[in-house]
Every structure is written in structure tokens, then in C-alpha cells.
């Protein structure tokens, strides 16, 4: 009967940097209604996001996230860029008969900066892909919630500005029911 040993393999030995990037990151576009010119809408959205607790980070707006995760809102390109940290190691079991050969492969791959491929690589890829997809989905949903709330606030402000361009705003009232918000603005022209 063969024994099996649990070993921890550095992730870069199993997956290329491109592949790791692909597994741990995702970008999704979002729409902004152009109630005002694009630059004004971007400015209002930025203001709403900052008021909601987000921060500026390298030309984008960072949504507060758990450690190891980033959600950046690129206002210029209307894109939400998400990133989750891929684990640095992959744990698997190998039989004693092939343990030495696997260890040699890992050593060589580390020295040459390549990947060992084969079944261990495939299994790491498929397991990590599933884990990362779930984490990215949860991060996307959380970031979307922040973005949607900020967009709602932005539209509210933009409509008021637009109305004030038409004439004197005499009355503003708002009502919410379910997922819809109604804003009624009375303008004296």
C-alpha cells in the first residue's frame, strides 16, 4: 500500500502570471445616464462615492473592501475593476512513489521560472478558478451596491442642477416605493 503526503506547492510553479491575473481579476462596465455633460456627471459621481466612504486611489475611486481585495471605480471609462488575492500556495497530496520526482519538478520550475503543468497544474487551476469566481462575484455585488447608491444620489443632484438651468426651482419633493424613487421638481419659468 502506498502512502500519500500532503505537500504545499508555490502557486507560480503551477500557474503563469497571466493566468493568475485572469483568475483573480475582473472588470465590468457600468452605465451613467447623461443628465448633464459627461465630465459634470463624473464629478458628481465622484463626490457621492467619496461621501459614501470611498477614497481616491491612483486616478480611480477605491471602494472599502476586505483585506486582499480591491474594487476600483474608473470614472473616466465607467468601469469597475475588481481584484482578489490568489493564494500563494496550493496544497495537494502525492504518493510516495512520485514524491521525489514532483519535488524535483518544483525545484527545476522555480529555478527556470516555468510551470510544471500536468495533472497537478490542471487541478490547481480548476479549484482556484472556482474559489476566485465566488470571491469576485461577492466583491462585485458589494461594490455594485455602493456604486448603485452613489449613482442614485448623483442622478438626484444632476436632476436638480438640470432643473435649475431651466428656471427657478420652487419646490422639490421625493418619494420612494420599493426600488423606485420619484423626484418631483417644480420650476417657475
Amino acid at each position: 500500500m502506498s502512502r500519500s503526503y500532503k505537500i504545499r506547492i508555490p502557486i507560480e510553479v503551477l500557474l503563469s502570471n497571466d493566468r493568475l491575473d485572469k483568475l483573480g481579476s475582473f472588470s465590468m462596465p457600468f452605465d451613467v445616464m447623461q443628465i448633464l455633460p459627461a465630465d459634470q456627471m463624473q464629478e458628481l459621481l465622484k463626490k457621492s462615492l467619496l461621501a459614501a466612504g470611498c477614497s481616491e486611489s491612483g486616478g480611480a475611486i477605491a471602494v472599502p473592501c476586505k483585506e486582499g481585495q480591491t474594487a476600483l471605480i474608473d470614472l473616466k471609462n465607467s468601469t469597475l475593476r475588481l481584484k482578489v488575492a490568489v493564494p500563494g500556495e496550493f496544497t495537494t497530496s502525492v504518493y510516495e512513489e512520485i514524491l521525489d520526482s514532483v519535488n524535483d519538478q518544483i525545484k527545476n520550475a522555480l529555478a527556470s521560472g516555468t510551470q510544471i503543468g500536468g495533472r497537478i497544474g490542471e487541478s490547481a487551476d480548476s479549484l482556484l478558478a472556482g474559489q476566485m469566481a465566488k470571491q469576485l462575484r461577492d466583491l462585485a455585488m458589494a461594490a455594485r451596491r455602493v456604486l448603485n447608491a452613489a449613482l442614485k444620489e448623483t442622478y438626484r443632484e444632476a436632476i436638480k442642477i438640470k432643473a435649475s438651468q431651466i428656471g427657478n426651482v420652487t419646490n422639490i419633493s421625493e418619494s420612494s416605493e420599493g426600488g423606485s424613487t420619484r423626484i418631483r421638481i417644480e420650476v417657475a419659468v
Partner: protein
């Protein structure tokens, strides 16, 4: 020292204490001698009069605690009028029937430590059931089919509607909505209010559901929006979202059918349908239903969006696999 114990007197003491603070807190003075008492009680001739006086005042107090001065609709010679518990007409509209059986069941509760069997709660009149429910603070023992079959008056039914906890997949008073012709006029408006409150509670529950964790979200919601009303406690015991929505929609359909009947062919007098329509507007039943439906679609949209995002992530991961 010789001590003489009169079971009737002990029962009265126990009843008074139970009405005041429930059976768990009701400890009679001679509790240590209870095991000497007979297992079944035989009442004296004077018992009935004393018992009626005691339970009537207890029920009146309970009605005042439950409904305060909330007015109910009554038919007076074809015309609809409002009366509350301070008005004579309110009490004249219903007759209570308290029997010796209620006292026997309470005696069984007093002696429960020494009697192995559970008290036979259903061997009683609905009004006996009401006093037993008040004493035990458990209004779930009596179903509406049982109450109606045994001709519970409208006020007893209203008290059970007010005090029963609702479990979403078996709303016991839905029986009244399914049999609208059996519902007396004073209870109709109250049921409209309670139906609206139930839908508000369902909407409150939906607002706290997270589309990313569709299972395992069983919560109790307490709707205490009405300052003077008894809070409505709703238990959401179904895991499945679609099952929950189907149950609530079935309830809504049942309520709408009952309301249409009361506002139409089921009218009692000359003008009560106007009051029913007014109550529907006052308690915003249709608006609450719309709000509930909006929340259902928001939830489904959220779940759909999540699914779509997940799909896109998987597609992105699998695009250009040759580069791996």
C-alpha cells in the same frame, strides 16, 4: 393544627393570579398542600355565579388591554356606526358563554403536577378557550375552524386574530378570509387592518433577505407600527424564497376575494360597503401589496444580476485559455 382546604377557593385564587400574570407566575397560598386535593373538582351551587363574575371582568380587562378604544363597525338598523369598548352597544353586540368546563380545565392546569394527562383544552366553549388562552398566554391552541364551528362571537374571534402568532405557511385566521360570509361586520374592518399589517411584515422580511444566500434565512418579524395595536409577530419558517412568495400571494388572493365580497354581495346593511372600501384605503392594503411585489421583483433582479456577473467571471476566466 388542622387546615381545611376548599378546592373552589384555591381555584378562584389561582384564576385571579393567572388572569393577572399568567399560570407560570400564579402560585397559590397553600401550594404545598395541592397534592391533597381531589384530581377532579365538583362545583358547589354558588360556584357558577362567582365564576361568571370573575371571568367576565377578566375578559373585559383583556379586551381593553388588547383594543384600547379602537372603534369597530356595527350595523344599527341598516346603517353602519362605530363603537368602542367604552360603549354599551359594543358589549351588547356579543354574548359570551363561559361554562363550568373552562373552570375544570383551569383546575387541571392547577393540578398539572399531579395529573399525568394534558388538560383537555378542546372540551370547552370558545369563550372558555379564550380565558384558558389568556391564563396560559398561548392563543395557538384553538384554530379558527374550531372557533367558528363552535360559534365563537366576533369579539372572541377578534381577540384570537389579535393575539395569535402567525406562521407564514399556515396563517390560521386566513380561514376567515376563505369563508368571508361567516365573518361578522365588526371583525371585517379589523381583518383588513391585520391583513395590511401582515403584508407590511412580509415586505420587512424581504428587505432583509440577501439574494446571495437564498437558503437559511428564517426570521421572525414583529410589526409594531400601530401604536395602540397588538404587535403582529410573523414567523417565516420556509427556507425557499419561491415557496414564501407563493404562500403570501395565496394569502393576498384570499384577502382580496374576501374584501370584494364584503364590499359587494356580502354587505350587511345599507352602507357598510363604503366603510369597507374606506378601510381598504385607510390601511393601504393595495399599496402594501404593490410594495411587496416590487420587493419580490427587486430580489429576483438582484439574484439574476448576481448570476449574470458570475457567468461573466467564469467566461472571462476561460477566455484565451491557450495563454495559460
Amino acid at each position: 393544627m388542622k387546615l381545611q382546604l376548599y378546592p373552589e377557593d384555591i381555584l378562584f385564587e389561582y384564576a385571579e393570579k393567572s388572569f393577572a400574570s399568567g399560570i407560570d407566575a400564579a402560585v397559590v397560598k397553600h401550594a404545598q398542600y395541592l397534592h391533597h386535593l381531589p384530581r377532579m373538582i365538583e362545583f358547589s351551587e354558588e360556584f357558577a355565579g362567582r365564576w361568571q363574575t370573575l371571568v367576565k371582568s377578566a375578559v373585559k380587562r383583556f379586551v381593553a388591554d388588547t383594543f384600547k378604544l379602537r372603534p369597530f363597525l356595527f350595523d344599527v338598523e341598516g346603517y353602519t356606526k362605530r363603537f368602542n369598548s367604552a360603549d354599551e352597544h359594543f358589549w351588547n353586540s356579543c354574548e359570551f358563554s363561559f361554562s363550568q368546563r373552562g373552570a375544570e380545565r383551569l383546575y387541571e392546569l392547577l393540578m398539572r403536577e399531579f395529573i399525568e394527562e394534558e388538560p383537555m383544552f378542546l372540551v370547552a366553549t370558545p369563550d372558555d378557550g379564550l380565558i384558558l388562552s389568556i391564563c396560559t398566554n398561548n392563543f395557538g391552541r384553538y384554530s379558527f375552524p374550531w372557533l367558528c364551528r363552535n360559534r365563537a362571537n366576533w369579539l372572541t374571534q377578534a381577540l384570537f386574530v389579535a393575539r395569535q402568532q402567525v406562521v407564514i405557511d399556515r396563517i390560521s385566521w386566513q380561514y376567515l378570509l376563505d369563508n368571508p360570509a361567516e365573518v361578522a361586520l365588526p371583525l371585517r374592518e379589523y381583518l383588513i387592518e391585520r391583513c395590511a399589517d401582515l403584508i407590511i411584515a412580509c415586505s420587512g422580511h424581504l428587505r432583509h433577505l440577501d439574494p446571495s444566500t437564498p437558503g437559511g434565512q428564517l426570521v421572525d418579524v414583529v410589526n409594531d407600527l400601530r401604536e395602540d395595536g397588538v404587535p403582529l409577530k410573523v414567523s417565516f419558517n420556509q427556507h425557499d424564497f419561491n415557496g414564501k412568495v407563493t404562500t403570501v400571494r395565496r394569502f393576498i388572493a384570499s384577502a382580496e376575494k374576501a374584501f370584494a365580497y364584503w364590499a359587494g354581495e356580502g354587505g350587511v346593511g345599507l352602507d357598510d360597503e363604503k366603510f369597507i372600501r374606506g378601510a381598504l384605503q385607510q390601511y393601504r392594503f393595495a399599496e402594501e401589496v404593490r410594495e411587496f411585489e416590487q420587493l419580490v421583483s427587486d430580489y429576483l433582479e438582484g439574484r439574476g444580476m448576481e448570476g449574470a456577473i458570475y457567468e461573466s467571471i467564469i467566461q472571462n476566466q476561460n477566455s484565451n485559455r491557450s495563454s495559460t
